[in-house]
Symmetry: C3
Subunit: 274 residues, 3 copies
């Protein structure tokens, strides 16, 4: 399947402009997320200048989404009460027309996760779906199955899956990995981000952090494919800078948060390779 | 509304004496707290020498409170089962006459939080309520509403709210912010703490950590207004020392925990400005 | 009661061989664990090269255990729904014949914890039970009670309790503390590990991390007493190296994760004192 790259462009200044807007406006990002990453994603959102709030009780989620500028739904540690809350918050977000980011953590690993992710997509119509290659492939599985042997590599197959999922759902699809791909426009266009660091997969929750940052960028930029690309560029650039200072995943995590906080235009000019 | 400052005094030696008592007696502090900060508040309590325990299941909370020296209730990520546990643990704490600290995280943001905080106050009668200005104002809202335009600044308004809330509940009220205020004695007295660092709001859970430390200090000092003031002084001093070493919120958090652990009388003499 | 030490040996090369196997095979370790340590134990598992997954919803736990190489059950922040999930996952692990590690956090502190730990032992038959001295003594309590005044020290008493618990349950028993003891073979044999650092008790979740690492080592070594001993040796060695670089519990935690990631044969040769 063909897909165009390069028609939709992001740049140093578009990345930095959105980052500055986040810092100035401190958008409230409502996260219904997993217990593993609540602390680290809240800190990452604070570090880029956003205002995180974590709330997952059904009696309050709609009201909380009602005062937020974006909603991030992450299925990393699901439970039945939590699913109800995700759907209630998602409906409120649709009603208010604020962006919703879905992170289908572990989709494909269990039926419960795959089905819940599909249910959220069908009910809430996320603005952005961000996952790794296997999660995005799991979400597009039925269609991929019919493709037979067209795929020549896992990476191509993931992009094809993203194309199918974008066509079917209308959500911007973001696959993160060594390179990140953002697929949009009925599967016709993609943006490729080549920033990143080899240490990132060794720290838990970096994908979840990417989804949270997509929420913050989508809160200030209604072109969701660019918002996602800006978020992934900031993740990748901060990862590269932190990677240079890190001696392992512990110091990487600390330096990553520091770098998000300090990130300036000069850093983006030096590192951006999107 | 008038309030006296300076009549109740804390000092370098009163701060350090309580800290040393915590280090020697390792009081067990039972926390029913939010998922975002469980790890960081447990580490802060360990770092000052207290023994943290996190337990929130209704079948065990009363028994756990029964062996604790203080109870900290934090509504940051509420749920209905959790509220039941907070009330059950709180009743046990009252029965045992051990201090209870309430952190009404996000009161005012949703009805669910505001109502739950009121319900805990009415049922459990906390020794100390610690929040930021907007949370304390939300808790005293009805009264504030009737004040009309008396307030000339957010900060004055928050102190007035603390005064009203202290009069109404009998709980010591602690407002944290750039300066911290502890209000007591039927709204007649206050203690002001001016320590602190500009990086603190950039780290998630610093307010929750302050509440947890209030629990540890209240466990060793039955003059709860002084216990709260000592906790806030230790927070602020450790914040200033960590701030000098930090390059961002990541390294701040690490240095803050290290500083709590190392904090000695010389540091308190050098930094205390309460 | 007598117990042999020294008959079962571990060595620098047996520790390093297992570590290398974990790094090469990245075993999936399913954790149903407490909220305080989810982030730090996931990072520790990633740092030694394992693949952590945290999942606790009853509808998915059996399926998740079905694709895992080890299951770690930690009762640190229990709730009724969570107990159901632990039992369901545990039954699947038994059926699949993969190792189960039980960490009875806080057993003895409340009836709820002690009873739940017994219920898991009776239903799931863990391969390894790892706890501190008081937890292991609580689990063997009835028998200990009948021993009267035989014990001359807390440490001896804990080893006796481990002997009784190993005889009764068949589970390898690991007591962690200043020295770690692994008891096996119907209470006849033990392995003693003397590595470790005085800073470790000042960081929350180091015991939980030890249990998670037992899961990773058991996933690659069916001699569970050796797997547990290798895990405790790696914990202790990494602790000693991190301790030399740490200025407090905050920097200890960061250096500990870095050290697990970097740990090489030379380090093990230099530090191993098992």
């Amino acid at each position: 399947m063909s897909i165009r790259t390069g028609r939709i462009k992001i740049s140093v200044s578009s990345v930095f402009d959105d980052l500055e807007t986040i810092r100035k406006s401190s958008p409230l990002v409502h996260n219904i997320t997993n217990y593993v990453v609540m602390n680290t994603t809240a800190n990452a959102l604070l570090a880029i200048g956003a205002s995180p709030v974590m709330a997952h009780a059904e009696p309050e989620v709609a009201e909380m989404t009602g005062i937020a500028s974006a909603l991030v739904i992450n299925i990393g540690t699901l439970s039945d009460p939590c699913i109800k809350s995700m759907l209630a918050a998602g409906r409120k977000a649709e009603e208010k027309n604020i962006p919703v980011v879905l992170d289908p953590v572990g989709a494909g690993a269990t039926e419960y996760r795959t089905e819940t992710a599909h249910r959220i997509i069908n009910t809430v119509h996320p603005s952005i779906i961000r996952g790794n290659a296997s999660e995005i492939m799991a979400m597009a599985e039925h269609s991929i199955k019919t493709k037979g042997v067209d795929s020549t590599s896992a990476s191509d197959e993931a992009i094809d899956a993203a194309k199918i999922l974008n066509e079917k759902t209308g959500s911007v699809i973001c696959i993160s990995g060594k390179y990140d791909y953002i697929v949009c426009n009925k599967g016709n266009d993609s943006i490729k981000i080549t920033n990143g660091d080899a240490m990132m997969p060794n720290v838990t929750g970096m994908g979840c952090t990417a989804s949270a940052l997509c929420g913050a960028f989508a809160a200030v930029n209604p072109q969701y494919e660019k918002a996602a690309a800006h978020a992934m560029a900031v993740m990748g650039i901060a990862g590269e800078i932190a990677g240079k200072k890190a001696k392992g995943p512990g110091s990487f995590q600390m330096n990553f948060i520091d770098t998000l906080y300090q990130l300036n235009e000069k850093d983006i000019i030096q590192y951006f390779s999107g």
